[in-house]
């Protein structure tokens, strides 16, 4: 529809209800869902359970932060699960002091290269994988979907070679702290004998979410990301270095997959060759539920955080309600579609 001719600037228009709802659609959906679970099963609201949900969410949530950058540019990365496994395996090998020592339990403290080196290894592996894929996308012009589909199998294969097929387990305490540690909250202790507190992975997840939000919302780099997702050609003709920006988002998602790989290995006290299989779907679902458009140019990291939590809450709630795991899959699939449909519906009602 054509916009009517306006002669004067209108006074600031009244707050449009649809606009507000569209901002918070995923959050509203999450709150409703939590309320329903709470009513059906009071244990759901137990702080111990809620922190547990958050701990589970934080790995895919971390990767979803990186994926938000990629999807905002109109790209996609299907290889995140394999990058996570490879990075986690690299961290394990470094922590054990080389491939030869991987079978000795608790060898880390004596012969390993230390936790800091393990973290660095995981991050570097993630960044390197992302860089490799990004370069392929911009230099060879192969669609991101295809490149990262290839990456998905290549990185999984590399993980299997590195680990000789089996898991690498048993790390020292400083390694395990990153996945299993807590910041204790004594006032929540109650009669529970298990210590209650904020898990370290949750702090990492939310910390990086805030950082990513600030970058995307307030910096020139963030503005550029939205611009190339909104209109690639217009971005190029506005003087943006589209290739370098595209490369950067694949490096960023690689970084987060690497970080997620280390945190997961730390939480499980084990790096598995089959870790992260199927994570790409959960991660992409988190981003999309959070309101980010798969076509790029529209979306927010905070939405992604809500999306990731929503999937975690859903899984947890269904388990508490003793819903069979077969039915769980069906419910989760339907809810994902409904959440996105709701978001699109509200956006279509938006006026400005």
């Amino acid at each position: 529809m054509e916009t009517p001719l306006q002669t004067e600037i209108e006074p600031r228009r009244k707050v449009n209800a649809a606009n507000v709802i569209s901002q918070f659609a995923p959050l509203i959906f999450l709150v409703v869902l939590m309320f329903v679970f709470w009513q059906a099963e009071p244990r759901f609201m137990n702080p111990l359970n809620l922190f547990n949900v958050m701990r589970q969410v934080s790995i895919t949530g971390l990767i979803a932060i990186g994926m938000t950058f990629v999807i905002l540019t109109g790209g996609i990365d299907l290889s995140v699960g394999s990058m996570l496994a490879l990075a986690g395996m690299a961290a394990a090998v470094v922590a054990k002091g080389g491939a030869a020592n991987t079978l000795s339990l608790n060898a880390g403290a004596q012969v390993g290269f230390g936790t800091e080196a393990a973290i660095l290894a995981a991050l570097l592996v993630g960044i390197a994988c992302g860089f490799l894929q990004g370069i392929t996308i911009i230099r060879l012009g192969v669609p991101a979907f295809v490149v990262t589909l290839g990456g998905l199998t290549v990185f999984r294969g590399l993980t299997l070679i590195l680990s000789s097929g089996g898991p690498i387990s048993g790390f020292d305490e400083s390694y395990r702290w990153w996945g299993q540690g807590l910041i204790a909250l004594p006032f929540l202790q109650g009669e529970s004998r298990v210590p209650v507190g904020i898990p370290i992975p949750v702090i990492i997840f939310l910390g990086f979410a805030i950082l990513a939000h600030v970058i995307l919302r307030y910096t020139r780099y963030g503005r550029h990301i939205y611009a190339i997702g909104g209109n690639r050609e217009a971005a190029r003709l506005s003087g943006l270095n589209v290739d370098r920006l595209t490369l950067s988002v694949y490096v960023i998602v690689g970084f987060f997959a690497g970080l997620g790989g280390f945190v997961l290995s730390s939480r499980l006290n084990s790096s598995e060759a089959v870790a992260g299989v199927g994570y790409e779907l959960t991660v992409i679902a988190s981003v999309v539920i959070g309101g980010t458009s798969l076509f790029g140019g529209e979306g927010r990291v905070l939405g992604t955080v809500i999306g990731a939590i929503l999937i975690g809450v859903l899984t947890n709630g269904l388990v508490l309600l003793n819903v069979s795991s077969y039915i769980q899959q069906i419910v989760i699939g339907v809810i994902i579609v409904l959440a996105v449909a709701f978001d699109r519906f509200v956006k279509s009602r938006r006026s400005v």
Binding site: M1, P4, L5, I9, H224, Y226, L237
Partner: protein
Amino acid sequence: MTLLLNMTRISKQFPGVRALDEVALEVERGEIHGLLGENGAGKSTLLKILSGAHRPDSGTITLDGQTLHFDTPQQAQSAGVVTIYQEFNLVPQLTIAENVFIGREPGNAMFFNWRRLATETRALTDRLGISIDPLTMVRDLSVAEQQMVEIARAISMRSRLIIMDEPTSALSETEVERLFGIMRDLREQGLSIIFVSHRLEEVMRICNRITVLRDGRNAGTAAISDITIPDIIRMMVGRTLADMYQGEHQRGDGEMALRVRNLNRRGNAQDPHAILLKNVSFDLYKGEILGIAGLVGAGRTEIARAIFGADAFSSADIEIDGKPVRISSPRDAIRQGIGLIPEDRKQQALFLSLTVRQNFSIASLGRFLRLGAFVDERNESTQLESYRQSLNIRMTSPEQRVGNLSGGNQQKVVIARWLAMNPKILIVDEPTRGIDVSAKAEVHALLHQMAGSGIAVIMISSELSEILGMSDRIITISEGRLTGEIARKDASEERLMAMMSPTSAPLHRAAQTN
């Protein structure tokens, strides 16, 4: 003459906007009827109601005396009302014949009858006087040829009324002539056509009568023989525009801003239909508007893109302010102080999902930084506000989505974007395509102002009246070569047409030594 279409007291309300208020439109049999009005006047809404895409809140539509209620475009089509939109509804990967008969293919439930499909399409194209193999893929056709396919499809549906929405906006002068020939033939055969165009000269040439809308109401209906262009403009804007091309500014003896030599564009494997350029050379001075005229496909846009570094297959020796520069990307060009307002606003300039403010500052974010990385949004809004006032941009707030602005206001946002980077050279490609008359006059005034302030402006346009009205100097190109240069005082439409046409081999360019 008998009445074919009679729309009376049509009203339509959208949330917050009264789009149509008791509008009437009458079209006779065998008539080409012009429907005019500025963007936002209600033309689109009226046509959407006629084609079944919208339902009116009140009012009646009769066709051939029968009252109609269209709920879907299909119903309108089967009643004989077919719309040809600006963006064609063709499937590029299918043949002409398949596109013409899409959804109505001859044959049985499983297989097409290819032979019948081809012969029937051939019969239609013959009737239109065009000769293209019906089995050509639509993606291999030019814009003008694709339009012919749309018209063939409209005729094949036994339509009585064809609505053409801005059919000439992407055509060259000769293609427009051919389209008009076909429209006249269809009129002879008793069809009626509703013709929507912003180009009033064309309306005067082809239409029998016109209906003008303004602010959702009828502003008048008249036979073309009783009316002049200034009358039409007065009806459209509700006031007189003293002169569409006033404000003639005098170019002083400015210094040379840009020197282009040996601009070439090679063919390449990716694009076998690429338009080539051969040794194009010209100069551009500070404070002048240099018009580039040529037929569609002559290479006008390619020259602009080559100078701006937007095109990988072009090369040129370029000097700016007397110093040779290397421009291999738009980034380089912008660093050298060149701006480009591209021909296709939606595809090449705007970020429709972003706000006016974000669209405004995207090419000059470096000027809005704090701490080296953070965008100073308050400063963006302040600057945008000053451009909003000086360019008369109509918007509700800096946070409005640019996609919700009218075409003219979108173009002003793009102009503001480049003014914000303080350009030395500004290239504008079809600066007034698809924008309404008063916005057009404002854009023209802005271009004069820019030139007056010392910016060197290159203006590309397929409207000769615009080229003649705006330029200080005009160069013409044909088939990728420079064919002439002429000062505005010596130029006329006839001379330009001769210089632009492919057959005029001898160079009109004055002997030039350097």
